[in-house]
Protein backbone atom coordinates (compact mmCIF):
# COMPACT_ATOMS: atom_id res chain seq x y z
CA UNK A 1 0.00 0.00 0.00
CA UNK A 2 2.85 2.34 0.92
CA UNK A 3 4.48 1.64 -2.44
CA UNK A 4 1.21 2.37 -4.24
CA UNK A 5 0.89 5.79 -2.61
CA UNK A 6 4.56 6.59 -3.29
CA UNK A 7 4.04 5.80 -7.00
CA UNK A 8 0.77 7.73 -7.05
CA UNK A 9 2.55 10.73 -5.51
CA UNK A 10 5.26 10.64 -8.19
CA UNK A 11 2.67 10.40 -11.00
CA UNK A 12 0.63 13.27 -9.53
CA UNK A 13 3.82 15.33 -9.18
CA UNK A 14 4.71 14.67 -12.83
CA UNK A 15 1.21 15.51 -14.09
CA UNK A 16 1.02 18.74 -12.09
CA UNK A 17 4.51 19.71 -13.31
CA UNK A 18 3.36 19.34 -16.94
CA UNK A 19 0.13 21.20 -16.16
CA UNK A 20 2.12 24.17 -14.80
CA UNK A 21 4.69 24.02 -17.64
CA UNK A 22 1.84 24.09 -20.19
CA UNK A 23 1.37 27.78 -19.35
CA UNK A 24 4.61 28.46 -21.25
CA UNK A 25 2.71 27.53 -24.44
CA UNK A 26 -0.43 29.45 -23.50
CA UNK A 27 -3.01 29.75 -20.74
CA UNK A 28 -5.19 26.63 -20.59
CA UNK A 29 -7.59 24.69 -18.32
CA UNK A 30 -4.86 22.25 -17.15
CA UNK A 31 -2.74 25.13 -15.87
CA UNK A 32 -5.73 26.80 -14.23
CA UNK A 33 -6.77 23.56 -12.49
CA UNK A 34 -3.25 22.95 -11.16
CA UNK A 35 -3.01 26.56 -9.98
CA UNK A 36 -6.36 26.45 -8.15
CA UNK A 37 -5.51 23.15 -6.47
CA UNK A 38 -2.16 24.56 -5.34
CA UNK A 39 -3.76 27.70 -3.88
CA UNK A 40 -6.45 25.69 -2.09
CA UNK A 41 -3.99 23.16 -0.69
CA UNK A 42 -1.62 25.90 0.48
CA UNK A 43 -4.39 27.80 2.28
CA UNK A 44 -5.60 24.65 4.01
CA UNK A 45 -2.09 23.53 4.92
CA UNK A 46 -1.10 26.89 6.42
CA UNK A 47 -4.33 27.17 8.41
CA UNK A 48 -3.79 23.77 10.01
CA UNK A 49 -0.08 24.49 10.51
CA UNK A 50 -0.79 27.82 12.21
CA UNK A 51 -3.26 26.22 14.63
CA UNK A 52 -1.20 23.12 15.47
CA UNK A 53 2.35 24.51 15.30
CA UNK A 54 1.87 28.04 16.61
CA UNK A 55 -1.37 28.55 18.53
CA UNK A 56 -1.58 25.26 20.41
CA UNK A 57 2.09 24.87 21.51
CA UNK A 58 2.66 28.57 22.22
CA UNK A 59 -0.69 29.59 23.70
CA UNK A 60 -3.15 26.81 24.49
CA UNK A 61 -0.70 24.31 26.02
CA UNK A 62 1.15 26.81 28.28
CA UNK A 63 -2.11 28.33 29.54
CA UNK A 64 -3.83 25.02 30.26
CA UNK A 65 -0.77 23.29 31.72
CA UNK A 66 0.69 26.04 33.94
CA UNK A 67 -1.51 29.12 34.06
CA UNK A 68 0.21 30.84 36.99
CA UNK A 69 3.56 31.04 35.12
CA UNK A 70 2.18 31.75 31.69
CA UNK A 71 -0.77 34.08 32.38
CA UNK A 72 1.07 36.91 30.57
CA UNK A 73 0.38 35.10 27.28
CA UNK A 74 -3.24 36.24 27.63
CA UNK A 75 -2.13 39.72 26.53
CA UNK A 76 -0.89 38.64 23.05
CA UNK A 77 -3.96 36.37 22.81
CA UNK A 78 -6.26 39.38 23.36
CA UNK A 79 -4.22 41.43 20.85
CA UNK A 80 -4.64 38.57 18.36
CA UNK A 81 -8.42 38.55 18.83
CA UNK A 82 -8.45 42.35 18.42
CA UNK A 83 -6.59 41.92 15.13
CA UNK A 84 -9.32 39.56 13.87
CA UNK A 85 -11.94 42.22 14.52
CA UNK A 86 -10.96 43.92 11.27
CA UNK A 87 -13.01 41.22 9.56
CA UNK A 88 -16.19 42.96 10.82
CA UNK A 89 -16.57 46.47 9.31
CA UNK A 90 -18.09 47.99 12.49
CA UNK A 91 -15.24 46.83 14.75
CA UNK A 92 -12.45 47.29 12.21
CA UNK A 93 -10.99 50.21 14.20
CA UNK A 94 -10.11 47.90 17.12
CA UNK A 95 -7.41 46.22 15.00
CA UNK A 96 -5.42 49.45 14.91
CA UNK A 97 -4.24 48.87 18.49
CA UNK A 98 -2.53 45.48 17.90
CA UNK A 99 -1.12 46.80 14.61
CA UNK A 100 0.42 49.75 16.47
CA UNK A 101 1.95 47.37 19.04
CA UNK A 102 3.43 45.22 16.23
CA UNK A 103 4.83 48.25 14.38
CA UNK A 104 6.25 49.78 17.57
CA UNK A 105 8.00 46.66 18.85
CA UNK A 106 9.23 45.61 15.40
CA UNK A 107 10.73 48.99 14.60
CA UNK A 108 12.33 49.14 18.05
CA UNK A 109 14.00 45.74 17.66
CA UNK A 110 14.92 46.15 14.00
CA UNK A 111 16.31 49.68 14.38
CA UNK A 112 18.96 48.56 16.82
CA UNK A 113 19.91 45.40 14.90
CA UNK A 114 20.04 47.02 11.47
CA UNK A 115 21.96 50.04 12.77
CA UNK A 116 24.67 47.78 14.15
CA UNK A 117 24.81 45.14 11.39
CA UNK A 118 23.91 47.00 8.22
CA UNK A 119 25.30 50.45 9.01
CA UNK A 120 28.04 50.45 11.64
CA UNK A 121 29.61 47.07 10.86
CA UNK A 122 29.35 47.64 7.10
CA UNK A 123 30.99 51.07 7.48
CA UNK A 124 33.74 49.62 9.64
CA UNK A 125 34.33 46.91 7.02
CA UNK A 126 35.15 49.57 4.42
CA UNK A 127 37.51 51.49 6.73
CA UNK A 128 40.56 49.49 5.70
CA UNK A 129 44.04 50.19 4.40
CA UNK A 130 43.54 49.29 0.74
CA UNK A 131 47.27 48.76 0.16
CA UNK A 132 47.64 46.15 2.92
CA UNK A 133 46.63 43.22 0.71
CA UNK A 134 48.74 40.11 0.14
CA UNK A 135 48.82 40.59 -3.62
CA UNK A 136 47.83 43.17 -6.23
CA UNK A 137 44.49 41.49 -6.97
CA UNK A 138 43.40 41.98 -3.34
CA UNK A 139 44.72 45.57 -3.33
CA UNK A 140 42.71 46.43 -6.47
CA UNK A 141 39.65 44.73 -4.97
CA UNK A 142 39.97 46.76 -1.76
CA UNK A 143 40.41 50.03 -3.67
CA UNK A 144 37.29 49.21 -5.71
CA UNK A 145 35.40 48.42 -2.51
CA UNK A 146 36.20 51.85 -1.05
CA UNK A 147 35.65 53.79 -4.30
CA UNK A 148 32.43 51.88 -5.07
CA UNK A 149 31.00 52.45 -1.59
CA UNK A 150 31.78 56.19 -1.56
CA UNK A 151 30.61 56.83 -5.15
CA UNK A 152 27.50 54.69 -4.66
CA UNK A 153 26.52 56.70 -1.58
CA UNK A 154 27.24 59.98 -3.43
CA UNK A 155 24.81 58.95 -6.18
CA UNK A 156 22.04 58.88 -3.56
CA UNK A 157 22.97 62.32 -2.18
CA UNK A 158 20.29 64.59 -3.57
CA UNK A 159 20.83 67.84 -1.64
CA UNK A 160 23.32 69.24 -4.16
CA UNK A 161 23.24 69.23 -7.94
CA UNK A 162 25.36 66.46 -9.44
CA UNK A 163 27.92 68.63 -11.23
CA UNK A 164 31.73 68.83 -11.11
CA UNK A 165 33.48 66.40 -8.76
CA UNK A 166 30.13 65.34 -7.27
CA UNK A 167 28.76 64.64 -10.78
CA UNK A 168 31.77 62.53 -11.78
CA UNK A 169 31.60 60.58 -8.49
CA UNK A 170 27.86 60.00 -8.95
CA UNK A 171 28.50 58.78 -12.50
CA UNK A 172 31.12 56.31 -11.23
CA UNK A 173 28.58 55.30 -8.58
CA UNK A 174 26.04 54.49 -11.34
CA UNK A 175 28.57 52.19 -13.04
CA UNK A 176 29.11 50.31 -9.78
CA UNK A 177 25.35 50.02 -9.34
CA UNK A 178 25.02 48.71 -12.92
CA UNK A 179 27.61 46.02 -12.20
CA UNK A 180 25.73 45.00 -9.05
CA UNK A 181 22.43 44.83 -10.99
CA UNK A 182 24.16 42.66 -13.60
CA UNK A 183 25.45 40.33 -10.88
CA UNK A 184 21.96 40.18 -9.36
CA UNK A 185 20.49 39.30 -12.78
CA UNK A 186 23.11 36.59 -13.29
CA UNK A 187 22.35 35.04 -9.91
CA UNK A 188 18.60 35.21 -10.64
CA UNK A 189 19.04 33.48 -14.01
CA UNK A 190 21.14 30.79 -12.29
CA UNK A 191 18.49 30.32 -9.59
CA UNK A 192 15.65 29.92 -12.10
CA UNK A 193 17.60 27.43 -14.18
CA UNK A 194 18.41 25.53 -10.96
CA UNK A 195 14.68 25.17 -10.28
CA UNK A 196 14.16 23.81 -13.81
CA UNK A 197 17.04 21.38 -13.24
CA UNK A 198 15.35 20.24 -10.02
CA UNK A 199 12.08 19.58 -11.83
CA UNK A 200 13.78 17.76 -14.70
CA UNK A 201 15.82 15.65 -12.27
CA UNK A 202 12.48 14.64 -10.75
CA UNK A 203 10.86 13.90 -14.14
CA UNK A 204 13.84 12.06 -15.62
CA UNK A 205 14.87 10.34 -12.38
CA UNK A 206 11.97 9.67 -10.00
CA UNK A 207 9.28 9.48 -12.70
CA UNK A 208 10.86 8.01 -15.84
CA UNK A 209 13.91 6.39 -14.25
CA UNK A 210 16.19 7.48 -17.10
CA UNK A 211 18.73 9.06 -14.75
CA UNK A 212 19.74 8.22 -11.18
CA UNK A 213 17.44 10.19 -8.81
Amino acid sequence: MEQFFATLGIWLGALFTFAIFSFLYKDNPFYKTAEQIFVGLSAGYWFVYTVFSILIPNLYDPLTQDFSTNWIKIIPAILGIMMLMRLIPKTEWVSRFPISVVIGTTSGVFFLRYLKSDVLNQLTATMINPFAGENWVIVIGQIMLIVGTICGVIYFYFSKKHTGVLGVSAKIGIYFLMVSFGAAFGYTAMARISLLIGRLQFLLGDWLGIIQP
Binding site: V109, S117, Q122, A125, S180, L195, L196, G198, L200, Q212
Partner: protein
Protein backbone atom coordinates in the same frame (compact mmCIF):
# COMPACT_ATOMS: atom_id res chain seq x y z
CA UNK B 1 12.33 52.38 -38.02
CA UNK B 2 13.26 48.96 -39.45
CA UNK B 3 12.56 46.17 -37.06
CA UNK B 4 14.30 42.75 -36.98
CA UNK B 5 12.02 39.76 -37.06
CA UNK B 6 11.47 38.48 -33.51
CA UNK B 7 11.24 34.74 -32.86
CA UNK B 8 8.37 33.33 -30.85
CA UNK B 9 9.56 33.12 -27.22
CA UNK B 10 8.18 29.56 -27.00
CA UNK B 11 11.03 28.38 -29.22
CA UNK B 12 13.42 29.75 -26.62
CA UNK B 13 11.57 27.90 -23.84
CA UNK B 14 11.84 24.68 -25.85
CA UNK B 15 15.54 25.25 -26.48
CA UNK B 16 16.19 25.86 -22.76
CA UNK B 17 14.16 22.73 -21.93
CA UNK B 18 16.29 20.53 -24.17
CA UNK B 19 19.44 22.45 -23.20
CA UNK B 20 18.79 21.41 -19.59
CA UNK B 21 17.33 17.93 -20.16
CA UNK B 22 19.95 16.52 -22.54
CA UNK B 23 23.05 17.23 -20.36
CA UNK B 24 21.23 15.55 -17.45
CA UNK B 25 20.88 12.37 -19.56
CA UNK B 26 24.19 12.56 -21.43
CA UNK B 27 26.72 13.83 -18.89
CA UNK B 28 29.50 16.03 -20.30
CA UNK B 29 31.55 16.52 -17.13
CA UNK B 30 32.47 20.19 -17.58
CA UNK B 31 35.22 21.29 -15.16
CA UNK B 32 34.25 22.88 -11.85
CA UNK B 33 36.52 24.97 -9.62
CA UNK B 34 36.15 25.86 -5.97
CA UNK B 35 35.54 29.52 -5.22
CA UNK B 36 36.82 31.41 -2.18
CA UNK B 37 33.46 31.76 -0.42
CA UNK B 38 32.77 28.02 -0.60
CA UNK B 39 36.31 27.21 0.55
CA UNK B 40 35.77 29.49 3.57
CA UNK B 41 32.68 27.48 4.59
CA UNK B 42 34.56 24.21 4.12
CA UNK B 43 37.51 25.49 6.18
CA UNK B 44 35.18 26.66 8.96
CA UNK B 45 33.62 23.19 9.29
CA UNK B 46 36.99 21.50 8.87
CA UNK B 47 38.56 23.58 11.65
CA UNK B 48 36.01 22.46 14.25
CA UNK B 49 37.41 20.05 16.85
CA UNK B 50 35.91 16.58 17.18
CA UNK B 51 32.82 16.58 19.39
CA UNK B 52 32.11 20.30 19.00
CA UNK B 53 28.55 21.46 18.51
CA UNK B 54 27.08 23.39 15.60
CA UNK B 55 23.66 24.86 15.06
CA UNK B 56 22.17 24.45 11.59
CA UNK B 57 18.93 26.27 10.89
CA UNK B 58 16.78 25.05 8.00
CA UNK B 59 15.11 28.25 6.89
CA UNK B 60 13.56 27.08 3.64
CA UNK B 61 10.69 25.04 2.23
CA UNK B 62 10.18 22.68 -0.75
CA UNK B 63 10.07 25.60 -3.22
CA UNK B 64 13.83 26.07 -2.74
CA UNK B 65 14.77 22.40 -2.46
CA UNK B 66 16.59 22.11 -5.83
CA UNK B 67 19.12 24.73 -4.72
CA UNK B 68 19.35 24.32 -0.97
CA UNK B 69 18.80 20.60 -0.37
CA UNK B 70 22.03 19.44 -2.10
CA UNK B 71 24.12 21.91 -0.09
CA UNK B 72 22.31 20.94 3.11
CA UNK B 73 23.09 17.29 2.49
CA UNK B 74 26.75 17.98 1.67
CA UNK B 75 27.20 20.23 4.72
CA UNK B 76 25.54 17.81 7.15
CA UNK B 77 27.59 14.93 5.71
CA UNK B 78 30.80 16.93 6.17
CA UNK B 79 29.84 17.69 9.78
CA UNK B 80 29.06 14.03 10.53
CA UNK B 81 32.41 13.02 8.95
CA UNK B 82 34.14 15.46 11.29
CA UNK B 83 32.20 14.16 14.34
CA UNK B 84 30.52 17.51 14.89
CA UNK B 85 27.30 17.24 16.90
CA UNK B 86 24.45 18.98 15.15
CA UNK B 87 21.56 20.91 16.62
CA UNK B 88 18.90 21.47 13.96
CA UNK B 89 16.33 24.23 14.17
CA UNK B 90 13.93 25.76 11.66
CA UNK B 91 12.77 29.34 11.39
CA UNK B 92 10.50 28.26 8.50
CA UNK B 93 7.70 25.81 9.39
CA UNK B 94 8.53 23.30 6.64
CA UNK B 95 12.22 23.40 7.50
CA UNK B 96 11.42 20.63 10.01
CA UNK B 97 10.52 18.24 7.19
CA UNK B 98 13.65 19.32 5.30
CA UNK B 99 15.80 18.24 8.27
CA UNK B 100 14.00 14.88 8.43
CA UNK B 101 14.52 14.29 4.73
CA UNK B 102 18.27 15.00 4.93
CA UNK B 103 18.66 12.71 7.96
CA UNK B 104 16.71 9.95 6.15
CA UNK B 105 18.97 10.28 3.13
CA UNK B 106 22.13 10.04 5.25
CA UNK B 107 21.16 7.54 7.96
CA UNK B 108 22.31 4.49 5.97
CA UNK B 109 25.79 6.02 5.62
CA UNK B 110 26.01 6.69 9.37
CA UNK B 111 24.31 3.77 11.17
CA UNK B 112 26.12 4.52 14.46
CA UNK B 113 24.71 8.01 14.87
CA UNK B 114 22.34 8.37 17.81
CA UNK B 115 19.49 10.84 18.02
CA UNK B 116 19.88 13.04 21.07
CA UNK B 117 23.63 12.38 21.29
CA UNK B 118 25.01 13.15 17.85
CA UNK B 119 22.17 15.27 16.52
CA UNK B 120 18.84 16.67 17.56
CA UNK B 121 15.95 18.28 15.72
CA UNK B 122 14.46 21.05 17.86
CA UNK B 123 11.82 21.86 15.27
CA UNK B 124 10.18 25.08 14.20
CA UNK B 125 9.58 28.14 16.32
CA UNK B 126 7.67 31.19 15.16
CA UNK B 127 8.99 34.68 15.87
CA UNK B 128 11.93 35.04 13.47
CA UNK B 129 14.45 37.57 14.80
CA UNK B 130 12.85 37.70 18.25
CA UNK B 131 13.18 33.91 18.52
CA UNK B 132 16.87 34.02 17.54
CA UNK B 133 17.46 36.85 19.99
CA UNK B 134 15.79 34.87 22.78
CA UNK B 135 17.94 31.83 21.93
CA UNK B 136 20.98 34.00 22.60
CA UNK B 137 19.67 34.76 26.08
CA UNK B 138 18.19 31.42 27.08
CA UNK B 139 18.08 28.52 24.68
CA UNK B 140 15.91 26.38 26.94
CA UNK B 141 13.15 28.95 27.21
CA UNK B 142 12.73 29.00 23.43
CA UNK B 143 13.14 25.28 22.89
CA UNK B 144 12.16 23.48 26.12
CA UNK B 145 11.44 20.33 24.06
CA UNK B 146 12.64 18.84 20.81
CA UNK B 147 10.23 18.17 17.97
CA UNK B 148 9.42 14.71 19.35
CA UNK B 149 8.34 16.17 22.68
CA UNK B 150 11.48 15.12 24.62
CA UNK B 151 12.66 17.58 27.24
CA UNK B 152 16.00 18.97 26.07
CA UNK B 153 17.32 18.51 29.63
CA UNK B 154 17.19 14.76 28.94
CA UNK B 155 19.19 14.96 25.69
CA UNK B 156 22.98 14.54 26.14
CA UNK B 157 23.74 16.74 23.11
CA UNK B 158 22.15 19.70 24.88
CA UNK B 159 24.38 19.48 27.97
CA UNK B 160 25.93 22.87 28.59
CA UNK B 161 23.94 24.56 25.83
CA UNK B 162 22.20 27.51 27.47
CA UNK B 163 22.82 30.11 24.77
CA UNK B 164 25.12 30.53 21.76
CA UNK B 165 28.34 30.49 23.82
CA UNK B 166 28.98 26.73 23.53
CA UNK B 167 28.05 26.57 19.86
CA UNK B 168 31.06 26.18 17.54
CA UNK B 169 29.38 27.86 14.61
CA UNK B 170 25.94 28.77 13.35
CA UNK B 171 24.82 27.96 9.82
CA UNK B 172 21.60 29.07 8.16
CA UNK B 173 20.25 27.46 4.99
CA UNK B 174 18.11 30.31 3.87
CA UNK B 175 15.54 30.99 1.17
CA UNK B 176 14.62 34.48 2.44
CA UNK B 177 13.52 36.04 5.71
CA UNK B 178 13.99 34.92 8.40
CA UNK B 179 17.32 33.52 7.33
CA UNK B 180 21.00 34.37 7.04
CA UNK B 181 20.53 38.10 7.65
CA UNK B 182 18.78 37.55 10.99
CA UNK B 183 21.35 34.97 12.12
CA UNK B 184 24.20 37.35 11.22
CA UNK B 185 22.55 40.20 13.10
CA UNK B 186 22.07 38.17 16.28
CA UNK B 187 24.43 35.17 16.37
CA UNK B 188 27.46 37.03 15.02
CA UNK B 189 26.92 40.74 15.58
CA UNK B 190 25.29 40.47 19.01
CA UNK B 191 26.90 37.28 20.39
CA UNK B 192 30.11 36.99 18.36
CA UNK B 193 29.64 33.40 17.13
CA UNK B 194 31.12 32.42 13.75
CA UNK B 195 28.18 32.46 11.36
CA UNK B 196 27.91 31.09 7.87
CA UNK B 197 25.14 30.29 5.44
CA UNK B 198 23.81 28.89 2.24
CA UNK B 199 21.22 30.70 0.19
CA UNK B 200 19.35 30.66 -3.10
CA UNK B 201 20.96 32.40 -6.07
CA UNK B 202 18.32 35.12 -6.03
CA UNK B 203 19.21 36.25 -2.50
CA UNK B 204 23.00 35.89 -2.86
CA UNK B 205 23.75 39.53 -3.89
CA UNK B 206 22.08 40.74 -0.68
CA UNK B 207 24.20 38.39 1.45
CA UNK B 208 27.62 38.93 -0.14
CA UNK B 209 28.32 42.29 1.61
CA UNK B 210 28.36 40.42 4.93
CA UNK B 211 31.53 38.62 3.84
CA UNK B 212 33.89 41.38 4.86
CA UNK B 213 36.73 42.39 7.16
CA UNK B 214 34.36 42.14 10.12
CA UNK B 215 33.69 38.48 9.18
CA UNK B 216 29.98 38.99 9.74
CA UNK B 217 29.57 35.97 7.49
CA UNK B 218 32.25 33.29 7.17
CA UNK B 219 31.86 32.29 3.53
CA UNK B 220 28.63 31.67 1.65
CA UNK B 221 27.15 28.85 -0.37
CA UNK B 222 25.20 30.66 -3.08
CA UNK B 223 22.95 28.58 -5.29
CA UNK B 224 23.39 25.25 -7.02
CA UNK B 225 26.94 25.96 -8.18
CA UNK B 226 28.18 26.45 -4.63
CA UNK B 227 26.44 23.22 -3.63
CA UNK B 228 28.27 21.43 -6.45
CA UNK B 229 31.57 22.94 -5.31
CA UNK B 230 30.94 21.72 -1.78
CA UNK B 231 30.13 18.23 -3.05
CA UNK B 232 33.42 18.36 -4.91
CA UNK B 233 35.32 19.40 -1.76
CA UNK B 234 33.94 16.48 0.26
CA UNK B 235 34.43 14.08 -2.68
CA UNK B 236 30.77 13.13 -2.82
CA UNK B 237 29.24 14.10 -6.15
CA UNK B 238 25.47 14.45 -5.85
CA UNK B 239 22.51 16.08 -7.54
CA UNK B 240 24.18 19.50 -7.59
CA UNK B 241 27.25 18.19 -9.43
CA UNK B 242 25.11 16.29 -11.94
CA UNK B 243 23.11 19.47 -12.59
CA UNK B 244 26.10 21.68 -13.39
CA UNK B 245 26.44 20.58 -17.04
CA UNK B 246 22.80 21.51 -17.61
CA UNK B 247 23.33 24.81 -15.79
CA UNK B 248 26.31 25.72 -17.98
CA UNK B 249 24.54 24.80 -21.25
CA UNK B 250 21.44 26.79 -20.24
CA UNK B 251 23.61 29.82 -19.39
CA UNK B 252 25.34 29.49 -22.76
CA UNK B 253 21.97 29.53 -24.56
CA UNK B 254 20.88 32.60 -22.56
CA UNK B 255 24.17 34.39 -23.35
CA UNK B 256 23.83 33.61 -27.08
CA UNK B 257 20.29 35.00 -27.16
CA UNK B 258 21.31 38.10 -25.16
CA UNK B 259 24.05 38.67 -27.76
CA UNK B 260 21.61 38.11 -30.68
CA UNK B 261 19.07 40.45 -29.06
CA UNK B 262 21.67 43.20 -28.62
CA UNK B 263 22.99 42.82 -32.17
CA UNK B 264 19.43 43.10 -33.51
CA UNK B 265 18.80 46.14 -31.32
CA UNK B 266 21.99 47.76 -32.59
CA UNK B 267 21.09 46.96 -36.25
CA UNK B 268 17.56 48.34 -35.81
CA UNK B 269 18.94 51.49 -34.23
CA UNK B 270 21.41 51.92 -37.08
CA UNK B 271 18.70 51.28 -39.70
CA UNK B 272 16.44 53.79 -37.91
CA UNK B 273 19.14 56.46 -38.06
CA UNK B 274 19.68 55.86 -41.77
CA UNK B 275 15.92 55.96 -42.38
CA UNK B 276 15.74 59.24 -40.44
CA UNK B 277 18.27 60.83 -42.78
Amino acid sequence: MGKSKQIDRRWLFLLIFFGVALPLIFTIGLPLETTKNVQMVYDLVDSMPKGSKALISFDYDPASMPELHPMAKALVKHCFDKDINLIFTAMWPMGVQMVDDIINQLKDDYPDLNYGEDYVNLGFKAGAMITIQSMGKNFREVFPKDMNGNSIDELPIMDGINNFSNIGFVFSLSAGAPGIKEWVQIAHDAYGRPTSGGCTGVSAPAMLPYINEQKQLTGLLAGLKAAAEYELLINTPGTATSGMDAQSIAHLIILIFIAIGNINYWRDKKAGKKGGK
